[in-house]
Symmetry: C2
Subunit: 620 residues, 2 copies
């Protein structure tokens, strides 16, 4: 061991003890939290923040800072304590833990500038770490990415998606550390302290693996040094620890997960015990090492050319998506794309063809696709992860956490609804709008043709925050000229007149069913208004209300989606305050295989059903 490392150990030991003390102080003051899980990780945190990582505590925006993700988010107090020790926050701030007015929440969120992604839903941090490490390559930075995991969370499949992806992308700048304290929330973990079993798993997945005593600072520093020397693969450090380490009341004991020390004698005794562990001769104070900062051109996005389609030409919105992201990628190098082995169906292969260095293949692993996108977004990329919309449901917890993070990701889901046809319900997204609309800061877009798809993707790229775009499998005719403008929160009125007896609101493929219904009704001298509701969230409530007023208060929505949470609910919520209600045409049962045309008709969302709804008695 180099002399320099050995000389730092006493100071690091004291830092670890102070991290324990502050974790206890904060959680006892808050009256809730997880002191025992902080204690098992104290030496790991001390080694990372005060010996290993290179970062400027005064400059969270430095893009060459090493990154740290606390995947075991319930250990938040020990992270906040490390910041206090590094001078990032004032030490007494930690006593505001979990208060409504404090950003030091129960689990870390990116409201705090040193946090890249919200954690607290276990098994997500390593996925984000994959994206953060990919970003280092993208911007040619030497920063390294460290992820601290709990042992219990390695039961989450998402961790193994990240393991596979990190290995296949040879992410040698990524270093995970598992705090193997052997105690879960409600009982001992599956593998407890079987360190060999952990090592076997990570080695089998292609990682460089080191087992250490997680309370031995020399061993931790040595493992981190090994990780730094490894090339061509990521490293996982497996740290054998004791939950509650340092406090005899908790040490290695079950029943203390998420339990704080009571104010008064109980906490005082623990704090005294920890104080007694401080060594007196710990050498000069340790400060974090500065990162190697590189100069970069702040390449400005170039202008994006207008989409090239002829009116009436038929093209699927999923195909326009592929064309658009390739085009956007040419104008802005921050744009990246991620795929889960469906790039020939979603057309994201067009991005890959033009920008192979910014295209990340995640294989059939949607959770790490979204998690890595969150990591990339946190470090300045603008990621477009895409797959079949149905399979985004696989990553809904990640999408939920992306919303909590306010992550700048641009999700795209293709093959929405029964209109995909023969493949059957497992491949049909019929709940994706409900999933996405539920997140209050999610922009939800659903274009019906190519020009609006392309223009809305431009808008999505320049909008700050999470966006979802739903695309369809069938080809649809181009409705709009190349100069037409589309904005988030807008809609288009496609047919209108003074005699309209109802407003029919479609989105995606149902816009064309509404137009067919218009033609049919026109022959019977019945006029309807037809709306292309391409933006579901935000939604243009004013125009919808005006149309309701102008068409006898009759609003009919038609959507290739289940009834709950979709287009009908979005419109109903928008117009409710004005006393208008909505007649909803939607898919109301589990569908089956068939041709697209058969299914659209069979499940009640074809032109014929719109005509029937318009011509049915106006009274309920």
């Amino acid at each position: 061991m180099p002399v320099e490392t050995a000389s730092r150990v006493p100071a690091l030991m004291n830092i670890a003890t102070r991290l324990r003390i502050d974790s206890v102080r904060a959680t006892t003051e808050a009256g809730s939290g997880h002191p025992s899980t902080c204690c098992s990780a104290a030496e790991i945190m001390a080694a990372l923040f005060f010996a290993e990582m290179r970062y400027d505590p005064l400059d969270p925006g430095n893009e060459d800072n090493d990154r740290f993700v606390l995947s075991k988010g319930h250990g938040a107090p020990v992270l906040y304590a490390a910041w206090a020790e590094a001078g990032i926050i004032a030490r007494e701030d930690i006593l505001s833990l979990r208060r409504l007015e404090s950003d030091l929440e129960g689990h870390p969120t990116p409201r705090l500038p040193w946090v890249d992604v919200a954690t607290g839903s276990l098994g997500q941090g390593l996925c984000a770490g994959v994206g953060i490490a990919l970003n280092a390559r993208r911007i040619a930075s030497g920063y390294r990415t460290y992820v601290l995991l709990g042992d219990g969370e390695t039961a989450e499949g998402s961790v193994w998606e990240a393991a596979e992806m990190a290995a296949s992308h040879k992410l040698d700048s990524l270093c995970g550390i598992i705090d193997v304290n052997a105690l879960g929330q409600s009982q001992p973990t599956q593998l407890q302290h079987d360190m060999q079993a952990y090592a076997n798993r990570w080695s089998a997945f292609g990682w460089y693996t080191v087992v250490v005593d997680g309370h031995d600072l020399t061993a931790i520093l040595d493992a981190l040094a090994q990780a730094r020397r490894v090339t061509d693969r990521p490293t996982m450090i497996l740290a054998r620890t004791i939950k509650g380490k340092g406090i005899s009341l908790l040490e290695g004991k079950g029943g203390w997960h998420g339990k704080t020390l009571k104010k008064g004698a109980e906490a005082d005794q623990a704090l005294a015990e920890l104080q007694a562990q401080l060594v007196t001769d710990d050498g000069p104070p340790l400060t974090p090492r500065a990162p190697e900062r590189r100069q970069r051109d702040g390449a400005r996005p170039a202008a994006v050319a207008a989409p090239q389609y002829a009116l009436g030409e038929t093209i699927a919105t999923r195909e326009a998506f592929g064309t658009a992201i390739a085009r956007l990628g040419a104008a802005d190098e921050r744009i990246v794309a991620l795929d889960a082995d469906v790039k020939n169906s979603t057309f994201s292969e067009r991005f890959q063809q033009q920008h192979p260095e910014r295209f990340y293949q995640c294989f059939i692993a949607e959770q790490v696709m979204i998690g890595a996108a969150m990591g990339l977004a946190a470090r300045g990329a603008i990621p477009f992860p895409s797959t079949f919309a149905a399979f985004l449901s696989r990553a809904y917890d990640f999408i939920r956490m992306a919303a909590i993070s306010g992550s700048n990701i641009k999700l795209a889901g293709s093959h929405a609804g029964v209109s995909i046809g023969e493949d059957g319900p497992s491949q049909m997204a019929l709940e994706d709008l409900a999933m996405m609309r539920a997140q209050p800061n999610m922009t939800v877009l659903y274009p019906c043709e190519a020009v609006s798809t392309e223009r809305l993707l431009e808008a999505a790229a320049s909008h700050r925050g999470p966006v979802y775009m739903r695309t369809s499998r069938p080809k649809t005719p181009v409705l709009y000229g190349p100069g037409e403008t589309f904005e988030i929160g807008g809609l288009k009125i496609l047919r209108q007149g003074n005699q309209d007896v109802a407003t029919v609101i479609g989105a995606g493929i149902t816009v064309f069913e509404a137009l067919k219904a218009y033609d049919t009704l026109q022959k019977r001298d019945i006029a309807i208004r037809v709306i292309d509701l391409y933006s579901l969230q935000p939604i243009d409530a004013d125009t919808l209300v005006r149309c309701a007023r102008e068409t006898g208060g009759r609003l009919i929505t038609v959507e290739d989606h289940y009834e709950g949470g979709g287009v009908g609910d979005a419109v109903a919520a928008a117009v409710a305050a004005h006393g208008f209600t909505v007649h909803r045409l939607a898919v109301r049962e589990i569908p089956r295989s068939g041709t697209p045309e058969e299914l659209v008709d069979h499940y009640g969302i074809s032109a014929r059903h719109i005509v029937a709804a318009v011509t049915s008695s106006r009274e309920p």
Copy 2:
């Protein structure tokens, strides 16, 4: 190799060839589907269905039949072809593949009696297999469970959740086979034909592992025989195969995933090529071996005792959930419970204490928890998987597929909404009602206190189909006497009079905010009607409409959930046809940490906000 085995190989070779022929015929007739993925699995399917598995083709309901799950659901035609070969369906039925009037859908669903769970969303079959194998133990059956996976789908984390759980439960009756054809949908798989890498991973996860040539029937039969002899752990057979095997146009070639052979010369040539592979002297025809059937007592569920609570006693609905499932489990041995290491927070530990043999610990792995529950339900158990409601979002794709399967699972999610307090948004379910309501056949229940929780769980257990119950963290007072009845699709009117100026509809913790608002308003001589909407789907539309009529058309919903897809949308959809609209009080932004009381007030769903909504101008 035993003589008996050797003598069966020629017949099995011919069966494999016929499975290829029928797969081509069916997909060519349908004009869509995945013949190439059927061809790689033909020998595996022949060996399983005509040499290895014990089942009675005439009796799909025989609970001792060996089970088969086609995790690579896009290989459906080869499964249907095997059934045709076994006489389960008529051979010409396969030509109805993917037609609206046929149950032979693009991906298998349990509309077909031999299918336990719908597949087609990759990575789910092995999770179901875990549950099916656990069920064999539950009913003391000797049946074995076989799961055929694609290689691409092993990138899904859920597969590794199943791997861990099967190993930790020592499921030696479970045998997986991975069809390693090395070609994904859009490109070669991550590991291609690196059989050692596959073997390393499965061995590291504790499985007995055999690598075979997946077109060598002798090797496959030998591997299956080995699997049968292994005790104390599951077996994974890694079969090296060639996609499109047997048809020179497709064999081992990219670009053929999900592509059919064109009717006419292309298909005819492939069929002729396959016909030529039939050997002439293949011995006597093979028929499936019969299962060892056991006699079982059809134990009838006993009567369930009434819940024991005193009016006004405070108890959290999550705690009542734990008490109830333990009580139900005592009355009906089909009831089982599954946990993801939060049993001390959800109180499912009460079930474990009373019925340890029917309690399955999944550790922190929600996908396999739901998948295993689906497998258990398919074989006659009534599973109650539970965790924090927020973390059910991790398994949303499984829940979606459970709905497609019409699976008899009873999901429970605790810690709903901002009322959990200090832990912060990562632990708060605020989109679970949207998730669940979107599924059209999902029953969605949300009781506010202990008696209704217990009674609704009884109703859930005897209801056939998927059910979700949302429970809360805070203690709430008991409102109902032990004899009160609750039904799926019902509600309770808690306060009413002739002068009610509005109907306030709460659910869960907001029922008590509504009751507080009632008291406040009463002092100001304003009367309101208060509803406990404990069943969101189905919903009692008639009573809601009547209440709207009787209270000036004013409906106010208040929910500890985001606006999109929750209580407000459910009520709005129910009353829309009668011209009534809903004023929604809901959480409208990403929340943060704080005390429950602070958060309920800060995010606009406390009694104060209800009072304001009632007393605000009636006109919008």
